[in-house]
């Protein structure tokens, strides 16, 4: 129809949205890339230094630490977060009473802001009167300093992982619910138990969805910032620094805009490369139903 080719309508309807996207997403993205080749403090100095920022990244011991911590989060996100999500999804699928209640309570940490959860965990880790130490005292054990150089990374990883378990739970539960019942029927006749059913039927049937969860968990781990900023600010002694908090620190505390942009580019590249690898290596023969 002619109506659907009116260029005036097309441009009037489309342009405002595209303008915002170009101005605040595409232009800054390419600018960040461009600026990663500069020594730049955002105000006075702006000097082209080629690959020096990238070279510096290889020498910077803090970024090694941050990278290691980020990888640690990715690992936990894939195995613990998606793992628990899968277990509780399989369990919830197998019961009829109370399933709705569990759905409600498992999902709601996602709705709450990471800032609030961060403050909450900060209170749990408090030495005098924090939840954990009160619990220990209750069991007649000595109080523990929870946020030390050694333990800080695990201490901040717990809320990061805990908050999003319910998210993978919902995605996986929906996928499991879509499997038609008659697939299991002959297996039931053979006397299969719940565990075997999960390993041999459910998991292979929802493998594609699990793969999507892995990719979401990995890209999610790269974007962690709020919780760590609130609980430890990357400390003590940078023990819980991740790429996101380090990028913030370098750019907006130390005013090294050029180097900060380089770290941001590293985050994007890591996300793309790791998602690609996961997608490739977890390919299995298609299972259809």
């Amino acid at each position: 129809m002619k109506h659907y080719q009116n260029w005036l309508v097309i441009s009037l309807f489309l342009c405002p949205a595209l303008l915002l996207i170009v101005l605040f997403l595409y232009y800054p993205f390419f600018m960040s890339f461009f600026r990663s080749f500069f020594k730049w403090d955002g105000f006075f100095t702006s000097e082209f230094i080629g690959l020096a920022n990238y070279k510096r990244m290889f020498m910077d011991t803090t970024i090694h630490k941050a990278l290691k911590n980020t990888m640690y989060l990715m690992f936990l996100a894939c195995f613990i977060q998606v793992g628990i999500g899968l277990i509780i999804a399989v369990f919830t699928d197998s019961i009829s009473k109370g399933a709705k209640f569990y759905r409600t309570v498992f999902f709601f940490p996602i709705v709450i802001s990471s800032t609030a959860i961060g403050l909450m965990f900060k209170l749990f880790y408090v030495y005098d009167g924090g939840l954990l130490n009160t619990l220990l005292n209750f069991l007649n054990l000595e109080s523990v300093v929870w946020l030390t150089e050694k333990s800080a990374m695990t201490a901040v990883a717990v809320p990061v992982i805990w908050q999003y378990v319910g998210f993978y739970f919902v995605i996986l539960l929906t996928a499991i619910g879509r499997i038609p019942d008659d697939i299991y029927e002959s297996a039931y006749l053979d006397g299969i138990n719940g565990f075997e059913k999960t390993i041999y039927f459910t998991i292979p049937l929802i493998w594609d969805v699990i793969k999507v969860c892995f990719i979401l968990a990995i890209t999610g781990a790269l974007k962690v910032f709020d919780l760590i900023y609130v609980i430890t600010q990357g400390g003590p002694l940078r023990a819980s620094e991740v790429l996101g908090t380090y990028m913030y620190q370098k750019t907006f505390v130390d005013y090294r805009y050029g180097y900060g942009s380089t770290i941001a580019i590293l985050i994007v590249v890591l996300g793309l490369v790791i998602s690609y690898l996961v997608n490739r290596h977890l390919r299995r023969e298609e299972v259809t139903y």
Binding site: L14, G42, I84
Partner: protein, 282 residues
């Protein structure tokens, strides 16, 4: 007979284990909130003495402090102004763009779609530095608009993709008769397309609102003065200053969580749908 009895027994044990595990996880999501709520009614001294017991009397001192001492009311209002504006812009501009992308025929349509998909991969880290400099040059730092624009832009691609997907599926007969009767494209959009797409708009609005209300990273960088800060930034910043006033911190946490929790319990279904659809967004 015996074997059947055993089987049932085993089945029963299995079920019990399942319920134990599920309830165990449910405890980790409910109890922390309950603990915080409990302690928000105690003085810091009482918390140090015993943080588990139910307070002898419920003192609302912490809540009064939250409003008087750290002016949490104002940052509440800031949060609402920012998040509602972001939602309004995303719904309005995103809806129009989605309608055009879903219905009209023109060059570059595919290219635009690919560009939208691509922008889902940009995390805020890789746009924030140039955005910050740009806002500084436009004198928009420390102004609500300075945060609203980039947040809206960040949510638009996802909104457009979801809405386009929905609008493509609306049968064309609906609007074609209206067009033949002489309605303008704008009227068709407002009277037919927008109302029919209600549920998709709801998902997008919910996702965008929660994303914006819960954001810390961008807000922290763009809004640096107390008067304009949303609630998350205020609390992240004062936690170092008032961090030892545990009662006050607990009350502050309750204050951020309560509205979202109430909203969640009221509209759980659309929220879960909106947020899992939002998984697309980077």
């Amino acid at each position: 007979m015996i074997s059947r009895y055993n089987k049932r027994n085993k089945f029963f044990l299995g079920k019990t284990m399942v319920y134990c595990f599920l309830s165990g996880w449910a405890l980790t999501t409910i109890y922390p909130l309950y603990w915080v709520l409990l302690n928000s009614f105690k003085t810091s001294y009482e918390i140090i003495l015993n943080s588990f017991n139910i307070p002898g009397e419920f003192k609302i001192l912490n809540y009064i402090n939250a409003f008087m001492k750290i002016n949490i009311g104002r940052s509440y209002l800031n949060s609402l102004i920012i998040s509602c504006s972001v939602v309004a812009i995303v719904i309005f501009l995103g809806g129009l763009a989605a309608y055009v992308l879903g219905r009209f025929e023109f060059k570059f349509k595919k290219a635009i779609h690919t560009a939208l998909m691509g922008s889902l991969l940009f995390p805020a880290f890789c746009t924030i530095v140039p955005v910050f400099v740009m806002l500084k040059n436009f004198h928009l730092l420390n102004k609500h608009l300075g945060l609203i624009l980039p947040q809206a832009a960040g949510n638009l691609p996802f909104a457009i993709i979801v809405l386009t997907g929905f609008m493509i599926s609306i049968p064309r007969e609906f609007e074609e008769s209206a067009l033949i009767e002489g309605c303008s494209v704008w009227q068709v959009y407002i009277k037919i397309i927008a109302p029919v797409s209600r549920s998709a708009f709801a998902s997008v609005a919910i996702f965008t609102f929660l994303w914006s209300y819960n954001d810390l990273f961008m807000s922290l960088i763009i809004l640096r003065t107390r008067e304009v800060q949303p609630i998350n930034v205020l609390l992240a910043e004062i936690s170092s200053q008032y961090g030892t006033d545990y009662g006050l911190m607990a009350a502050a946490i309750v204050i951020i969580i309560i509205p979202v929790l109430a909203f969640y319990l009221a509209a759980q279904k659309s929220i879960v749908k909106g947020l899992t659809a939002g998984a697309l967004k980077g």
